[in-house]
Amino acid sequence: MVKVLVPSGALGLNYDQEALTRGIAAGPDIIAIDGGSTDSGPSYLGRGVSKYARSSTKIEWAGLMQARAEAGVPLVIGTAGTCGADSAVDWMLDITREIAAEQARPLRIAVLRSGQDPEFIASEWEANRITPLGNAPEIDADLLRSCTNIVALAGAEQIAAALETGADIIIAGRTTDTAILAALPLMRGCHAGGAWHGAKIGECGALCATNPQSGVIMIDFDDAGFTVTPLADGAHASPHTVSAHMLYENSDPFILYEPGGHLDVTDAEYTSIDARSVRVTGSEWVPTDDYTVKLEGARAVGYRSVAIALLRDRHYVQNAPAWADDIVAKCSAKVMERMGLSADAFTLELRLIGHSASFGKLEKRTADPVEIGVVAIITAPTEAQAGEIGKMLNPYLLHHPLTQEEEQPTFAFLFSPPEMAHGVVYEFALNHVLHLDDPMRAFRLEVMDIG
């Protein structure tokens, strides 16, 4: 039996302190928390930074480090700093050292780095050891070399290697969401299907239960399956809330691919064992000989600037699409003429909030809005060019008339200047797997004793 305590779906989302205390009193074997995912977009991986405030991260992590010391068990974070790039791991390590000094407690820290040298990945690509997953973008060696960050998603094997160092705290770069939860139960011989399934159910904290914001859950793994128990007051798990969690952010609700195999929950059975807990059995782990880890990468594709204007004049609100189309055509022509940029070197788009900003041409509904927010989005090869296009757009956003016959209108700008530099535009560049003979080949483990 292995008890895994999960404080919340991600460090930075906060957790219920009372429920955490209850979890510590129940004697967990490990505390595991996720630090991120791709869900916030490519900028975090592109820059190798966290989306959460350092001060929030520090307070929440200090609470978990304190809880860990009380429980005397390992604390592990996966995908540290949102993206799990090496720089985000270093950020997390820096915070951890600060807290360790403040708590005046000696610690053994294991750091698992998942960052990949683009040159190594390019050579693996050329050696045919990288294969695409569904809807993967086209790549080539040069594109791989141009990525600012590439990470490989560690599985249970790499987390197990970190646990075997005897570390009190494990700071892991990019891992699968499940690996940090599944690793210890697998090491101790729990049911493999149950280990991965329980890890998937638990990786978002209490999202698999009622009162999902409450965060804290305990998962008890054993030799046939697992039992999940939310620990906050008023939260309970039911067969429905637990099984429905397999739908969440999964393209296939029955199959989950992991390094070394896949989980199949087609025949899983979910049973209420009391008002709060659910037991799950019948999940199957299907191992494969071909050990692969998923890759994620981001690369810079230009610079963005943004401007906002408001239309409130009824005539312009009613004719906003034609007005926007005319501005885009005229301003784009001016950009090409005056800046010498070709049509495919930049983008200029006006999205009409209140009209069609969510879906563009796929929007089906029409209505008569009170006002329309116009968001101009510009991308160009350099920051200076993106800014220059923003300035070229300025007089159109302020004064463009629908026809030559009407009086010159003036629209509302929220601030001066109306255009804002939004920095580097990153794109996700990889949806591929890397084939590995040795699971540790793409990862680096470092152990440090501090204090």
């Binding site: 869900d39 916030s40 952010e249 983008t347 796929l362 929007e363």
Partner: protein, 99 residues
């Protein structure tokens, strides 16, 4: 004919990674599930996105009363042309389908 949203408990859409979108329709009852399962086609879902029907995966999950669809994201998450980083808005368009 009725709007899907009036027949079900909840329609949810989310990223399933940066390259896929997944739509979960929680029907709430066996009766509603049967109606959605029989009345909502893959081609209707594909049409919302102007996507190829061959790319849409469908799962009818009777014990949860859920009909689920997954398809390649209309734009890769965070790409210049993407409009919704987390993919959650699409649920509104699906909910407005007539079945």
């Amino acid at each position: 004919m009725a709007e899907l949203r009036s027949l079900v408990t909840k329609v949810r859409s989310k990223n399933a990674g940066p390259f896929w979108l997944t739509i979960d329709i929680f029907c709430g009852s066996a009766e509603s599930f049967a109606r959605v399962r029989d009345g909502l086609s893959v081609s209707q879902i594909a049409a919302v996105f102007e996507a190829d029907t061959q790319t849409v995966k469908r799962f009818d999950i009777e014990n949860l009363h859920v009909v689920k669809f997954s398809l390649p994201r209309p734009a890769v998450q965070g790409a210049v042309e993407d409009r919704d980083m987390h993919g959650a808005s699409w649920a509104a368009l699906i909910g407005e389908l007539d079945i």
